[in-house]
C-alpha cells in the first residue's frame, strides 16, 4: 500500500514536471511568435528637437550615405524590424535610418573568417542609426 502510494506520488511528480515543462515550452514558443521587442535601448544625441515626419519620408539605408550627415540617435533592440526603426526615426524627425544586424548564431562548420552562413538570418541585435542630412539643412538655411 505504502509502495503504491510512493509510486503514485512519483508518477504525479513526473506528470507535474512534464506539465510544467510543456507550459514553459509553450510560453517560449508563444513568445518567439509574438515578435515582441526586447533589450530596447535608444540614445538621442542632438541638442535640438526636430519635428516628426511621416514614416514614408524616412529612408531605410543599409550603408553609409554619400551625402554629409549628422547622427541624431541610435536605436538598438532584439526582435524589431527595419520598419519599426523607420517609425522611430520618423518620430524624432530623422531623414534616414541606417540599419544593421549584429551578433547571433555562428556555424561551427565555418572555416573562413569571411564566411558566415547565418549572417542576416539568425542575428541577435538590430541597430538603427538615425541621421539628418546636413547639406539639406544648409540649403534650407
Amino acid at each position: 500500500m505504502g509502495k503504491n502510494r510512493r509510486q503514485l506520488a512519483k508518477e504525479f511528480k513526473i506528470r507535474n514536471d512534464c506539465a510544467r515543462m510543456k507550459l514553459i515550452a509553450l510560453l517560449v514558443f508563444g513568445l518567439s511568435f509574438a515578435g515582441c521587442a526586447t533589450d530596447v535601448a535608444n540614445r538621442y544625441y542632438a541638442s535640438e528637437q526636430y519635428p516628426p515626419k511621416n514614416k514614408a519620408e524616412v529612408l531605410i539605408l543599409d550603408s553609409k550615405p554619400t551625402r554629409a550627415f549628422i547622427v541624431i540617435a541610435d536605436f538598438q533592440s532584439r526582435g524589431e524590424t527595419p520598419s519599426d526603426l523607420q517609425e522611430k526615426a520618423a518620430k524624432i524627425g530623422a531623414d534616414a535610418v541606417i540599419v544593421s544586424h549584429i551578433g547571433g548564431v555562428y556555424s561551427r562548420s565555418e572555416e573562413w573568417a569571411s564566411k558566415d552562413r547565418y549572417q542576416g538570418e539568425f542575428h541577435d541585435h538590430i541597430l538603427g542609426t538615425a541621421i539628418k542630412f546636413t547639406e539639406e539643412n544648409e540649403n534650407a538655411n
Binding site: G103, E110, W112, D124, L127
Partner: protein
Amino acid sequence: MRIRSITILALLLLLTACASVDVTKTGKGFYEPTTPAEVQILKTLPDYKYVELGTVTVSGFDSKETAKMHNAIRAKSSALGATAVVLTEEGLTPGGWGTYRRWATGVAIRNINSQ
C-alpha cells in the same frame, strides 16, 4: 514517434553545431563594416588611437576550437565596423559528458585612423 525522435535529434544537432555571438553596440554613430579577415584579435590594448564600438561575448565552442572562436568574433564584430577586438576574459564551462565549452568576452574597437 519516429518523426518526434528525428525532430529532437535534428534540433540537438543544430544546437551543438552552432555557437552564439552576442554583440552589443556601446559606441555612437555609424561605421562602415570591415572585412572579417582583417579584424585583429588582441589580448592587450593597442598603441594606436581607437574608439570603442561595443561588447562582444561568444560561447558554445568546443574547448579546442580557439581559432574558430576567433573567426566567429571577427565575422560578427566586422558588421559593427571593428578593426580589432580586445579579449578581456576567456574561460571554459562544463559541457556534459566530461567535455568543456569555450567562451570569451571582449571589446570591439576601431582604429580612428582607418576610414
